[in-house]
Amino acid sequence: MAAYELYKGKQNLADVQAKRATAAKCAFDVEDVTTQEKRHTVGVEHPVDAAGCDALIHATDQRVCVGRNGPRPKLLTYFQMRADHGATQDSLKEIVPDEVITKLGLLHVGETAANGSLETYLRLPPLGRKLSDEAKAVVLQKCVKNPTVQFVVSNGLSGFAIERYAGDVLKSMLDGLKAAGITVGTPVYVNRARVGIMNDFGTLLNADVVVVLIGERPGLIISDALSIYMGYKPRWEPLTTDANRDNICMISKKGKNPIEAAAEAVGLIKDYLKYKTSGVELATAKRG
């Protein structure tokens, strides 16, 4: 390295240091780009009708009147899209911490046949409908048998859904069922389950009703929605399918209220027990 003398530069060192000191005093306090107000910003430069643009934005949830930089989106829109997609990815990857599961009053029974791998879970949905052998053993050993109602909670495709809304839904439903004199088994948590896991629990525990609280596939607008799926006597033999299930979906701050959803779900359970069926058949039975 000694063959060349280091390049020394031509600038006055005091000037360079003074500029560096000035720059060090700068503060960049950037506003949140994801607020409703920012989302409703008219991005079009010099619109023909500014009030009209405003009205168009308020007419739809789609991202209209966002403006452009040449043929490309503006950074505000780009950042919002990246942030929203990022939220979906974080929600998808979220593993609910053990202390949250405990606080929810749930028994963590373990994994499905997908064995905790997100990749396997995404590639092979049927594996998420069956408990692993270890989890099965835990269920048989520790859960109350023949329950009227069995609760199963799982992150599914959105861990944030469980962390944010499962508590409210669970508490309201348990209160509602207690008031109606309906007994509940041992509420459990399973990592990365699919809705069809209800058949496994229905079969293993001989449950009358199985309620599955599960994180939905995250969307850009709502990335943390919770769903309640439920069915009367879900079993593998004879096979009960989606037709036997009811669903209350999009439970979220921006979607359906958790307490209202819980009340609807308790109402459905009462109907299940009265009509001894669920899903499409229940709707038919209720019409008389």
């Binding site: 079009v44 007419a59 043929p71």
Partner: protein, 455 residues
């Protein structure tokens, strides 16, 4: 029959044409879940080497669902042009690939044989193609069709304006149409995916779209992507309809799961010819996507790409105005990540064009697939290079009704700009007349939906 090959001295055997086709397919999570994919990369390559030697007549004689079991197989095979078929029947799959890529083979030459091919043949060729093969080949197969605008001309790339809304709110959908029109989007079709598939609802939306068309004298064709039977009812009631839509599948059982039969599509096409306001001669619009059959438990152990090409061959029966693969919509259990989505997009385009139909692409992804907006942007460049007839578009690529992301209107304008492409000639003339487009580029007035509040 024997299907055997060696690789590094190891012998690989396949029991029939269907297995060779499946194992020669590039990696797709859906084929793996179905248990029909190659068990190793070596086996995949071995299957490709066997496939290369199979002549076209064998692929015709051994479709992945037998003639006597499946009305789609029957409709495709009965529709084969015997003159075109005679020209290629003795060529092997490998020879077909070489012939397509040869500089001395012209677009006209390929067009002259396309109606002699079945879906299995087109898929087989695609399985021997690398990505650039698919682009070079696809580029040689322009498919020009006309409904209101002339679509598919070389140097042109169209777009479908997709103004969806979770409750079909008329004001919301109108706002979204203005947003697309402001970017000069919509020459392929203005097509709404309805949330409520009922005649009264569709009639209301058709009327709104017709009003916009009349007020701004747009060379626009419209479509509402309800079930084909709902649209047929609307046609009979006198709705102003430009194109008639249906999602289709590659096996009879999967098509039946959509509540659709070949005879129903035949009837829809006849009604469209009779009642659509558009000039034609192409009226039908189809959507497809790899994985449909497996998700309906109706794949008959055939691979996704072969079944996709069978949809294209079925679509050909109706001389459609547009067919697009909704390539990333179905989810990671069928196409796992960016690589699989991009590969499938190029394959679908190649197969459709080889079969002589006007392929477009809905480059898209859901949030549980290993992909992001870059996947869409990359694939748009790739299939624009391959000569796609059109792309889909929705405001900023975020479809709040179907909860997936496709291309933004910006993206289509960017492709026009970066790749020297233009919308359909009739549409370009209209947009230039309003001062929204000049020499294929957006003007200062473009991108402002409130422009359309003036009249």
């Amino acid at each position: 029959m024997a299907f055997r090959s060696k690789l590094f001295g190891i012998t690989y055997e396949f029991k029939d044409v269907k297995e060779v086709l499946a194992k020669a397919n590039e990696q797709k999570s859906g084929d793996e879940a179905a248990g029909i994919a190659a068990k190793s990369v070596a086996e995949r390559v071995a299957a490709k080497t066997v496939l290369a030697d199979i002549p076209m007549w064998v692929l015709r004689a051994q479709p992945v669902v037998p003639y006597e079991d499946d009305e789609i197989t029957r409709a495709i095979d009965d529709g084969i042009d015997p003159v075109a078929y005679d020209k290629i029947k003795d060529k092997t799959v490998g020879e077909m690939r070489a012939w397509i890529l040869d500089e001395n083979t012209t677009s006209e030459d390929i067009k002259a044989i396309s109606h002699g091919l079945t879906g299995e043949m087109a898929a087989a060729v695609a399985k021997l193609c690398s990505s650039l093969d698919l682009i070079v080949g696809g580029h040689k197969m322009p498919c020009v069709v006309h409904n209101v605008c002339t679509m598919g001309l070389p140097g042109r790339m169209g777009a479908r304006l997709q103004p969806n809304h979770p409750t079909d709110d008329v004001d919301a959908i109108r706002a979204e149409i203005y947003d697309g029109l402001a970017f000069c989007i919509g020459d392929q079709v203005i097509g709404i995916n309805p949330a409520i598939d009922q005649v009264e609802n569709l009639m209301k939306l058709y009327e709104m779209m017709w009003d916009i068309k009349e007020k701004w004298e747009i060379p626009a064709s419209n479509c509402i992507l309800g079930h084909v039977t709902t649209q047929m009812e609307c046609l009979k009631k006198g709705a102003k309809i430009g194109q008639v839509f249906q999602s289709i599948a590659g096996t009879q059982a999967a098509l039946e799961s959509f509540g659709v039969e070949v005879g129903m599509l035949d009837e829809a096409n006849e009604l469209a010819k009779k009642y659509c306001y558009s000039e034609g001669p192409n009226y039908m619009y189809f959507e497809t996507g790899e994985g449909t059959e497996l998700s309906a438990y109706a794949n008959n152990d055939a691979d996704q790409l072969t079944l996709e090409a069978r949809k294209h061959a079925l679509a050909r029966r109706y001389s459609p105005i547009g067919v697009n693969s909704v390539v990333g919509f179905i989810g990671p259990e069928y196409l796992y990540n960016s690589d699989e989505i991009m590969r499938a997009g190029l394959e679908d385009h190649f197969c459709g064009k080889l079969l002589g139909i006007p392929l477009g692409l809905d480059n898209c992804y859901t949030n549980h697939v290993r992909a992001d907006q870059n996947t869409n942007e990359f694939l748009m460049v790739l299939d624009a290079a391959a000569g796609t007839n059109y792309h889909m578009g929705v405001s900023m690529g975020d479809d709040v009704m179907l909860s997936y992301q496709c291309a933004s209107y910006h993206d289509t304008a960017a492709i026009w700009s970066a790749m020297n492409l233009r919308p359909a000639p009739e549409w370009e003339k209209w947009a230039e007349g309003l001062g929204l487009l000049k020499n294929g580029k957006l003007t200062d007035k473009a991108g402002d939906p409130s422009f359309f509040l003036k009249r």
